[in-house]
């Protein structure tokens, strides 16, 4: 009887644990490969556990990492700057949309969310950015197009709608300006929402390859993800300018397979490290409400 009562619980945990494992196994597999010995890998194939634990792949990737460091610099700069600006810009419009008493609320709502349903398509956007705005091969092109993403605005606005209007009203009675209310009252109160959307925005910038695929040809502006893409078929990209093996590894095979996975780990790592800081706010910040005004 006791077992029968517990059975559903056990089943639920079983399903969740299985999927949880499924979610982390691929990460474990690429970590294992990156730590494995290249010749063993070539002989036996990949496995979930490292074969012949060593750091050759990382030594290879990090030896004279001129291009790697440059890509890291581009990614960091774009992600940090982009996230801060985008969050401010999105929070501004989200707050305005959350104000029931704003005169043009419905019109503004339509203006923002219509772009989720209709857009001009790849070609006109590409023409505009490259031919008319001349943003090709600049850092700006990696930042500006993602400044105001309607989906994130929707999440933030829904969160801000939950802030009681009486707080705003009492500030107004005290004579605070709208700007002051926004910066002093709303932003601190919207912390969970801002943290959640902030994390999404950070990921959006950090993981982006789309903008660099279209608009970046200059070597010095290649971000990490794009560099990783070019290495899918050609590990040499990494060491083109410094075509050498680290000292002491001269008689070893070029660790092409393992180095690729080491690079993937280096590119994914920072975001995984950042997650715990956001998790506290996560579920409460992630509510999505109706689009209609």
């Amino acid at each position: 009887m006791a077992l029968r009562a517990k059975l559903p619980k056990i089943l639920i945990h079983l399903v969740l644990i299985l999927f949880g494992i499924l979610c982390i196994i691929p990460l474990i597999s690429i970590i294992s490969v990156s730590l494995s010995d290249e010749t063993t890998i070539l002989k036996n194939g990949y496995s979930l556990l490292p074969q012949g634990l060593n750091l050759h792949a990382y030594a290879y990737v990090l030896y004279k990492p001129v291009q790697l460091l440059n890509a890291l610099k581009v990614s960091l700069l774009v992600s940090v700057f982009g996230t801060v600006v985008s969050l401010l810009v999105s929070a501004g419009i989200s707050y305005v949309l959350s104000r029931e008493d704003y005169k043009y609320k419905n019109k503004l709502s339509f203006y923002v969310f219509f772009t989720m349903l209709f857009n001009g398509g790849l070609v006109p956007t590409y023409m505009l950015i490259s031919k008319y705005l001349h943003l090709k091969n600049t850092l700006w092109v990696l930042i500006l197009p993602y400044l105001a993403i309607p989906w994130f605005i929707l999440i933030l606005r829904t969160f801000m709608q939950k802030i009681p209007h009486s707080i705003i009203e009492s500030c107004m009675i005290d004579g605070a300006s709208e700007l002051r209310i926004f910066f002093r009252i709303i932003l601190p109160l919207a912390k969970p929402g801002l943290a959640t959307v902030g994390l999404f925005t950070l990921l959006q910038y950090w993981n982006d390859w789309w903008l660099s695929l279209l608009y970046i040809e200059k070597e010095s502006l290649v971000p990490l993800q794009f560099m990783l893409y070019r290495m899918i078929n050609n590990i040499e990209f990494l060491t083109r300018s410094t075509n050498m093996m680290p000292p002491g590894m001269n008689n070893v095979v070029v660790p092409a397979e393992t180095a690729r996975m080491a690079m993937a780990i280096l590119a994914a790592g920072p975001m995984l490290a950042v997650f715990p800081f956001f998790q506290k706010y996560f579920v409460s910040g992630l509510t999505v409400g109706a689009i209609k005004g």
Binding site: H13, V15, L16, I21, L22, C23, I24, P26, L27, S29, V33, I41, N44, G45, Y46, L48, V89, G92, I93, Y95, V96, Y102, K103, L108, F110, Y111, V112, T115, L117, F118, N119, G120, G121, L122, V123, P124, T125, M127, L128, L147, A148, E178, L179, F182, L203, N207, W209, Q225, L228, Y229, I232, M261, A264, A268, L272, F282, V283, L286, V288, I291
Partner: protein, 308 residues
Amino acid sequence: MAKATKNRFKNTQHKKSLQLTMLALPAMVAIFVFSYIPMAGIFIAFKNVNYEQGIFRSPWVGFDNFNFFFTSSDAWTVVRNTLGYNIVFIAVGTLLSIIFALLLNEIMSRKVLKAYQTMFFFPYFFSWIIVAYMAYSFVGPYGIVSGWLEDLGVNFDFYTETWIWPFLLIFINIWKGLGYTSIIFYAGILGISQEYFEAAAIDGANQFQMIRKITIPLLMPLITIMTLLSIGKIFYSDFGLFFFVPREIGQLYPVTQVIDTYVYRMLRQSGDIGMSSAVGLFQSLMGFAVVLFSNYLVKRVNEENKLF
């Protein structure tokens, strides 16, 4: 006197909306530049663009670009792939997300819950390029799954077999998005007032009855929003999934080429601007039509749940 007060009130009101508009302005500008100006560029679809004359002076060709696309042998394949995958993604993805949200809702211990959420969110953190590497580490020539199959005496080259890719792509897409969408639905469930459940418990309702009669109906607005938004994107695909994960292997195109990758490759390879924008316009208009229609259907069933 009364008039003066009214005027002053009107003035402060005016000042307030002005200040609020200023707050919204930066985002309005960004959206205008990167979303609305390109919309004006849809006329390119009706032109035969050549570089000497530029896009404005190139000759008008009516619907030639559209004809050219729809009479090509690729049109059917890419439209079928795009719609087919999306329908499966929406149906299976939504269903599984709701199920997982409900399962998560049964977990009482905060620590365990957090552990699950963290694990489920992992895939969302990886870019499609990293996911492509991961897929390769399983099904590539040295891959783990390929190795297992080899041990069983089967020599299976995933990157040349077309039939397996629909399954792989559906699996990978669901795997990557499930944590994210299930947490959105889970947050929605948390928003439901506990009073309903307490009242139902007093009336002797069991867990399944509560889910059927309380959770699902109250979650319906959110489910509808999410589904309608996905339906609006039914003619678009996750470019990264279809471009990076199956790699650039032409042999697999019959099952991996979707409208987005087709337009991109066409643009890169042949530089056919007119036709690419014709396809883009087709995508936008069809998606818009489909979402208007589904919203109309939703409205007829339940006015409350409509998207707009």
